[in-house]
């Protein structure tokens, strides 16, 4: 029996997986960063989904607090990543991570 919260949680897991795939498979940095954000969203969805404690009760407040914290962290991460990517683009003219060979 699938209720809404389980569905949400599963969707979150799927999002997480898509994010992982994006981070790994796409060479372009922006896609990687987006993938990371998708991953984060997936985690947050699962988190919010598990805060559901049944129709009678209020949702658990703790995951909400945590998710807000998590979003802040994710925003910071995105900012840092974008800054680095810009720098890299400025220096190398490419928005991909250069292949790492022996110097």
């Amino acid at each position: 029996m699938i209720n809404a919260s389980v569905l949400y949680a599963l969707a979150g897991v799927v999002l997480f997986g898509m994010g992982v795939y994006a981070m790994i498979a796409y060479p372009h940095l922006l896609r990687k960063i987006l993938g990371m954000n998708v991953m984060g969203v997936g985690v947050f969805m699962v988190f919010i989904a598990i805060s559901y404690q049944g129709p009678e009760q209020r949702a658990d407040p703790v995951p909400h607090a945590l998710v807000i914290t998590g979003i802040v962290v994710a925003v910071c991460a995105t900012g840092l990543a974008l800054a680095l990517a810009t720098q890299l683009h400025a220096l190398t003219g490419s928005a991909r991570i250069p292949a790492d060979g022996e110097e």
Partner: protein, 496 residues
């Protein structure tokens, strides 16, 4: 109040954090501020350490809120050891960085960029202290990210394209790892409804949620710890960063994620200790040891060699996992792992610092160009040699103590194959360390001495001091064992 360790715990975070903020605001005062900030941090950490050693584990409830919504800082024996380690290595690196970043070989723009080192470093320090003090799994996530951000920014400090790429990769990998970890935390909370490690430890059972959490947390942290085969990001990052940063990354940052792994497995995931998962970690540890050593042996650049040495030595940390987890009170094995962290941190920091000094002075870090340097720069060379002794784990050194505990634990439990791997790792370490040291003894054809840049005393002193510490750690085995027992719920009398 002052004699309560709990009082000092938040201060151990606040002191470097405040310093970092002040450094952002007043970059011109960095000299004075770093000295005061470092002194204050060290003082609080040591007070906290001493008090914990004397009075036992401490817990501080921030703002009086308390779990589940509030944040608790906890300090037991393991915590204070890591705090003290960070303080000591951090102090040495601070001293070193003063000489390194102001060195005349750097041009003006580089020096301006390097000025950012100071706030970032104190931020990292604060984040590390927070990580070690965190008592719940979500806080650990936050601190892990903070550490990661500071570390990435520090890596990027060198400014070259290669290092930016390395930093980028480092960041992405870090995020990937921490999101895996976070997902694991979600499963933990979903399964058991608490986040505090101690509380979790009391309620966990072997459920599917715990299993999923275990897998995600382990993989995420293994990635951040650069366990083979997820280590690919480490060598470029560690090798291309500036020397003080390399030292920080190898000595401390790596230990942060491993510390979480250790904590979570020992405190929360232990019901799964009897599965074969720890054996997988052990196998990966062995592989890391052999693989990393082999790569280190094949390197032709000094800093890459040292970086691969880190890849190899991370393997040691995972080798004892089955011992640690199958019988949670195996204090000897735990002491082996912790001693190894201490020894590796000091020795590897010293190795990176002396390598950095050599690179700074000669402008070159190819192994082949080390020839004849022994007479010209004896201090970094001696420091590297002593650090090398500890990395190879030859007696007398901290590395040896760790190896002793490890061998004792493995042989006592009958894992003699692991013992052989440990020994083989030591021998391979000897080979790559000698690849550095041997050219130093080579005869120089030209009588005329090579021209090298002057290395300031502060750099030599800190590299050398850490190396001496790495040797002197050989006398600390007994104390580490005693301190580890403080406030450790998993330690029973039988384990002692």
């Amino acid at each position: 109040m002052f004699f309560d360790a709990a009082f000092w715990l938040p201060l151990a975070i606040m002191a470097p954090l405040t310093t970092a903020l002040l450094l952002f605001l007043l970059p011109r005062r960095s000299g004075l501020l770093t000295v005061i900030g470092a002194a204050a941090t060290i003082a609080t950490v040591f007070l906290a350490t001493l008090l914990v050693i004397q009075n036992g584990a401490a817990r501080h409830t921030l703002g009086g809120w308390g779990a589940p919504l509030g944040i608790d800082l906890t300090a037991d024996g393991l915590t204070v050891l890591m705090l003290a380690l960070t303080a000591i290595v951090g102090a040495a690196i601070t001293l070193y960085a003063h000489g390194y970043f102001t060195h005349p070989v750097h041009d003006a723009t580089a020096r301006t960029r390097y000025a950012n080192f100071w706030p970032l470093w104190f931020f990292l320090w604060a984040a590390l202290n927070a990580l070690f003090l965190s008592g719940d799994v979500f806080n650990l996530y936050v601190t892990l990210e903070l550490v990661s951000f500071a570390a990435v920014a520090l890596t990027a400090l060198a400014g070259k394209p290669a290092v930016l790429a390395a930093a980028m990769r480092y960041l992405l990998v870090g995020l990937l790892g921490s999101l895996f970890y976070l997902m694991g935390v979600v499963f933990l909370y979903g399964g058991f409804g608490v986040l505090d490690i101690a509380a979790l430890g009391a309620v966990v059972t072997a459920t599917p949620a715990l299993a999923a959490a275990a897998a995600l947390i382990t993989v995420g942290l293994a990635m951040k710890t650069a366990l083979f085969p997820l280590h690919f990001w480490l060598p470029p990052a560690h090798a291309n960063a500036t020397a003080p940063v390399s030292a920080l990354l190898s000595a401390l940052v790596i230990k942060g994620s491993f510390y979480i792994l250790l904590r979570v497995w020992l405190g929360v995931l232990y019901p799964l200790g009897e599965t074969i998962a720890p054996y997988l970690l052990m196998a990966l540890g062995a592989a890391a040891l052999l693989w990393g050593s082999l790569q280190a042996i094949r390197q032709t650049r000094l800093k890459l060699l040292v970086a691969y040495s880190t890849v190899a030595q991370i393997g040691y940390l995972f080798l004892l996992m089955p011992l640690l987890l199958a019988e949670r009170n195996n204090l000897v094995a735990l002491a082996g792992v912790v001693c190894f962290m201490l020894a590796h941190a000091t020795a590897k920091a010293s190795a990176f610092l002396s390598a950095g000094a050599i690179q700074l002075a000669t402008g070159d870090d190819r192994l082949a160009s080390l020839r004849g340097l022994m007479q010209i720069m004896p201090a970094p060379v001696a420091a590297f040699a002593m650090a090398g002794v500890s990395l190879v784990a030859l007696p007398p050194s901290g590395g040896f103590v760790a190896k002793w505990f490890m061998l004792d634990a493995t042989l006592a439990s009958g894992y003699w194959v692991v013992a052989l791997v440990i020994v083989a790792g030591g021998l391979m370490a000897a080979v790559y360390i000698m690849r550095v040291l041997a050219p130093l003894f080579r005869q120089v054809e030209t009588v005329e001495a090579r021209r090298v840049e002057h290395v300031p005393l502060s750099m030599n002193l800190s590299a050398f001091g850490l190396a001496v510490l790495a040797i002197l750690l050989s006398f600390t085995g007994v104390y580490v064992l005693e301190i580890l027992a403080i406030g450790a719920p998993w330690v029973t009398e039988a384990g002692l």
